[in-house]
Each structure stands twice: as C-alpha cells, then as structure tokens.
C-alpha cells in the first residue's frame, strides 16, 4: 500500500523522469483523510457507473508507450516502446505493446480484407477474415521482440534513457489464431518448397521470407491478442506470428503468402535486419531472438528510497526455448545469486524473475544473466561487443547493467 501511494506521488511529481515509475525518492508522507481513523471520501458517495470499454486509472496516465520516434517526414515509419519499468507480470497490456511500423498503421475493414495463399500450391486459395474465424485455433503466450531492441547498447556510451526506452521493443502477449500449417495443407503446399513469402497490406507492403519448416511447426495466423481481436497497430485483422523469431518476420496486416523455392530477398531481409559484424561481413537470417534478460526495477531513472531490502525484478526470454535460470549480481558480476522464476515459465515467453536484495547504501552495480534450456547463457556486454563489433543494429542480447549510486539514483552503466 505504501509502495502504491508512493508510486502515485512519483508519477505526479516525477514527470522529468519520463516513463519511469516507482521507487520514488520521496518518503511516504501522511495524506489528510487517507489514514485511520478518517473515512475515505470514496466511501461517502456512490462511485461512477459502468463503462463500455475500460481504461487505466487516471492516476496512471504517465504510464504510456515511450520513446516514440519516426523517420523524418513521416509519422508512422518508426517505433514506440513498452515502458518495462512500469509494468509487472509477463503479459503486456495490448495498448502498451511496442510498435514498429514501416509505413504507418493501415485502417483495414475486416469485411474487405483477404488472405491469398499461392505459389507452389496445388490450389491457390483466398480466405476472408470471417472464414478464418471459423477455423480451429490455438492460444499461446509468447514474447515478441523487435530485432533492433537494445540497439543503443552498441554505442560507446551507456544509453542515458530508461529501461523501456532502451529495451522496450519487447512485449508479451497471449496470441490466439489459426495454425498456418492447416491453411498450407488446405492449399496443398508443395512439400519440396522450402520457403514462403509473407506480405502485409500496409503502404509498405512489408514482406519477409519465412522458412517452410517454421511455417509448418508453430507459426500461426494471429487474430486475437490478450483475448480480444488484434489492435490495428498489431496487425488487425490478421498478423503472422512466428514464436521466438525476430519481430519483423511476424508480418502484420497479412494479405499474402506465396510458397516459394527460395528466399525472396526482400528489402527487410537484406538491407535491413542483417547484422553487420566488425569485419564488414553480415549475418543473414538470424531468426531466433537470443537468450536475454534485464532487471526492470530498479532501473535507470528510478531512485532507491534508502538502504534496506529492495525487491529486484525483471524479465528474461529466449527465442530458442525456455528460460531455466536467471542469476542476479549486485557487485557488477563477481558474485551471482539465482533469482526466483515466477510461474508460468513458458517457452519463447517473457519470464518474470524476482530477488530480494538488501542494499547497504553503497554504490552497487546490478546485472541479470539468463540461461535457456539449450544451455545458452546471456553474454557480458564486453564479450558481445568483442564478438560482434559496434557497427551492429540488431540482436543485442548482452547483459544490461544498472549502476546504483549512494544517493539511490540508478543509471545505465557499462562496468
């Protein structure tokens, strides 16, 4: 309760720390009428009526998508980030799911939207949204991470922005839709075809090649996110969803799937979303997002109130499987303590970890390090940069470190 009130006060008075929440520096003050023996004003008159579609509490208005940036001269070619430090659990509210668009959010009337499946198939087929809604569906909890998440970590200086602003191109949802395999089988996809092309109905006609093996494994045509139909900015009325793969491949506003013998080599799998290494070579088709974690609280821009027990929490995920271990260090990586993984721990899903830390008031460096069930361990940033160089944009998955100063302020650091 004290934490909650404190958080509100922080959000009201701490606007300078955009996107930050909680762990306010100000001590809990007594508020007139809020404590016993006074009776709260909310109990002295009936409250508001019902609403058709609920909204967050007005006191939470500072919790928004953050670091919204567009290409020059555009409003919809860019990204917005999830405010990771303000959220809990492993499901991101749909309205706070990160966005990455290549030519804005199209307005698509589902009654006039069609999905075409063609190419190396026996029967080219056209599906209405209404038809797809009548197919058997599956629901899966998965993260979605933009390949360019944490891009600032390639820079020489630690990013002077919050956890969400630097690392919020990742979100978690329950996705529900039709297994793509069912539709490929209905169309009679050629078993010899190794690829398909997925294309959106946005103004970029954004397109990516997808391995047929993935399409026949766990790919789905997502129609619902967190129980309701997709939001426009997440691909309404249909998006491809490829669990664990870099977000760009989960093509939104899906209108066409072409079964092909080879990759199409679209702009977004050649000039973008390839990973330039220090030697000038580039890695292509780096599909799964690697094992990764970060502490979301405390984190950059938040302030510890004072020495004593701190609830450390964060998120871990791996596009290659299930998180098996998260370790936390409070001394910059010399000693590590295993954090508690909060159920549910699901494959290719955000996994919440927690650890109590007794802070002695001295400067400290907090880190988290995740391991997945393939045995892959999240590398230190220095190791990651040594392996990949600093010219990259995508797939940063090294360790994120937070420096805690004696005054309780927390900042991104490269220890």
């Amino acid at each position: 309760m004290a934490e909650r009130m404190n958080r509100r006060r922080f959000l009201k008075h701490g606007v300078a720390l955009a996107g930050a929440g909680g762990l306010a520096a100000t001590p809990v003050a007594q508020v007139a009428g809020a404590e016993p023996p006074d009776i709260a004003p909310s109990m002295r008159a009936p409250g508001a009526g019902m609403s058709e579609y609920g909204s967050p509490a007005k006191y939470e208005r500072a919790v928004t998508r953050t670091f919204i940036r567009s290409q020059p001269g555009t409003t919809g070619s860019g990204a917005s980030r999830t405010p990771l430090e303000s959220l809990e659990g492993v499901i991101t509210p749909s309205g706070l799911h990160f966005e990455r668009h290549h030519s804005g959010v199209p307005d698509i009337d589902p009654t006039s939207h069609r999905l075409l499946i063609h190419g190396m198939v026996k029967r080219p087929l056209l599906f209405s949204v209404d038809a797809l809604l009548r197919y058997p569906m599956v629901s899966r909890v998965h993260f979605l991470e933009c390949s360019g998440n944490s891009q600032l970590m390639y820079q020489t200086m630690p990013p002077n922005v919050t956890a969400g602003q630097a690392h919020g191109l990742v979100s978690g949802s329950e996705w529900t839709g039709v297994p793509l395999r069912l539709l490929l089988e209905e169309a009679g996809a050629d078993p010899a075809a190794a690829w398909l092309l997925a294309e959106g109905a946005d103004a970029a006609a954004m397109s990516r090649s997808v391995p047929m093996a993935k399409a026949m494994d766990d790919a789905m045509l997502a129609l619902f996110q967190n129980g309701e139909r997709l939001r426009p900015e997440n691909g309404y009325p249909i998006r491809l969803f490829l669990p664990g793969y870099e977000g760009n491949m989960s093509v939104k506003w899906l209108r066409r799937i072409k079964v092909t013998p080879t990759p199409t080599m679209t702009k977004d799998e050649t000039s973008r979303y390839t990973d330039l290494q220090a030697d000038g070579k580039s890695l292509m088709f780096t599909y799964p997002m690697e094992v990764k974690s970060l502490i979301t609280r405390p984190s950059h821009g938040l302030t510890l109130r004072g020495p004593g027990v701190q609830a450390v929490t964060g998120l871990a995920w791996s596009g290659n499987g299930t998180i098996t271990r998260v370790e936390v260090s409070t001394d910059g990586g010399r000693a590590w303590t295993r954090a508690e993984l909060a159920a549910p721990v699901l494959p290719r899903a955000l996994t919440r970890f927690r650890l109590a830390w007794k802070w002695d008031g001295q400067p400290a460096v907090l880190k988290s390090r995740a391991t997945d069930d393939t045995g892959a361990v999240q590398p230190e940033r220095a190791k990651f940069i040594a392996d990949h160089g600093q010219n990259g944009v995508f797939h940063y998955h090294g360790i994120v470190a937070w420096g805690v100063q004696a005054n309780g302020e927390v900042k991104h650091v490269y220890p």
Partner: protein, 185 residues
C-alpha cells in the same frame, strides 16, 4: 458446437427416429478444418503477386536507363533521399563502398544490398513513401538503372529490364553469411 450437437440429437430423439441429427462430433476434431478457402484465378493472383526474387521471376515487361531515371528520381525521390542519392533527410542510397569494416560504415544500395532485384521489388511496392504503387514499370526500371549507375555498378547507358536486372552483380553480394538453415532454428 457441442451444445448444438446435443440439441440436434435431442430433437432427433423427440421426432422419434435416427434420421435427424445435428452432425457428427469428429474424433480429434480440434484440427479438422472447414476448408473455406475460395479458389482464385491466375489473373487474380497476378494482380497481387508483386514479389521479385533474385532470379527475376515475375519481373514485368518494361525498360529504363539512368538518363530516364534521373528526372523521375528528382521529382519523386530526391526530397527524402537527397540529390543523386546522397541521403538526408532519409536513407542514403549511393556510395559507402569500402566502409563496412570501418568505424562508421555507410550502408547504401551500392555498398550493402546483395541483390539488384530487391531495388525493383522494394521501390515498386513501397515508394514513393506517400504514394506507393503509383510508379509505372518503366519508371521503376529507370530508377533501378539510375541508382545502380550512380553507385558505379552499371554503365551510364545500360538498360535495365526483366533480363538485365537479375544479372547485375552487386558488390557486397558475397559478404553475407547465412545463419539459416545452417545455424539456428
């Protein structure tokens, strides 16, 4: 579905016979599909099939040269990509060859893109930003020729068409390491 099935069975029983039923609950039926895809004609498919792979399959008739591309570029591309592809306010399209292993790599069509067909595919589907899919095929070929010529990859008078474009060898073609299917999932 199960409620309807049960209702159907009950009505059938009430009517005093086995003839009427509400259908069959299919064993393992969670994966049975209703097969609602509608057949489409080749002409319908052709209207939507705009993707062009490196071998050029699907490239439409048409042609263009750098000289024809220059005025199209100046009118429809330059405001975002700068004079002669120099960039600003948006992506630079020309130059940068030899910079990829340095401290400040410059990624352009000429220095980075592995396939010339991608230029045709991308420009036709996505550009100009405010008016995608308005360029004629000749204009797209001409823009390909213009940008490839500015990057020193083809000659000033080389014509780009469905036969010549896939044959263009991009300088950075061999500097990509495939991570699928050899690595990863």
């Amino acid at each position: 579905m199960s409620t309807r099935d049960i209702t159907g069975v009950m009505i059938g029983l009430l009517l005093g016979g086995c003839a009427a039923s509400g259908g069959t609950a299919m064993s393992g039926g969670a994966r049975e599909v209703p097969a609602l895809g509608r057949p489409v004609t080749a002409a319908q498919v052709a209207g939507w099939d705009i993707s062009i792979p490196p071998d050029g399959t699907g490239l439409p008739p048409g042609r263009g040269t750098s000289a024809l591309g220059a005025p199209v570029y100046e009118q429809k591309c330059q405001a975002c990509h700068g004079a002669r592809g120099a960039g600003q306010p948006n992506d630079r399209l020309v130059g940068g060859q030899g910079t990829l292993a340095g401290a400040t790599p410059v990624r352009t069509i000429g220095s980075y893109w592995p396939y010339a067909t991608t230029i045709f595919d991308y420009v036709r589907r996505s550009m100009p930003y405010i008016q995608p899919q308005t360029l004629t095929n000749d204009e797209v070929y001409a823009l390909c020729a213009y940008l490839l010529h500015l990057n020193g990859i083809i000659g000033e008078h080389d014509e780009m068409n469905a036969q010549t474009l896939p044959k263009v060898r991009m300088p950075n073609r061999d500097n990509f390491i495939l991570m699928y299917p050899t690595k990863g999932r």
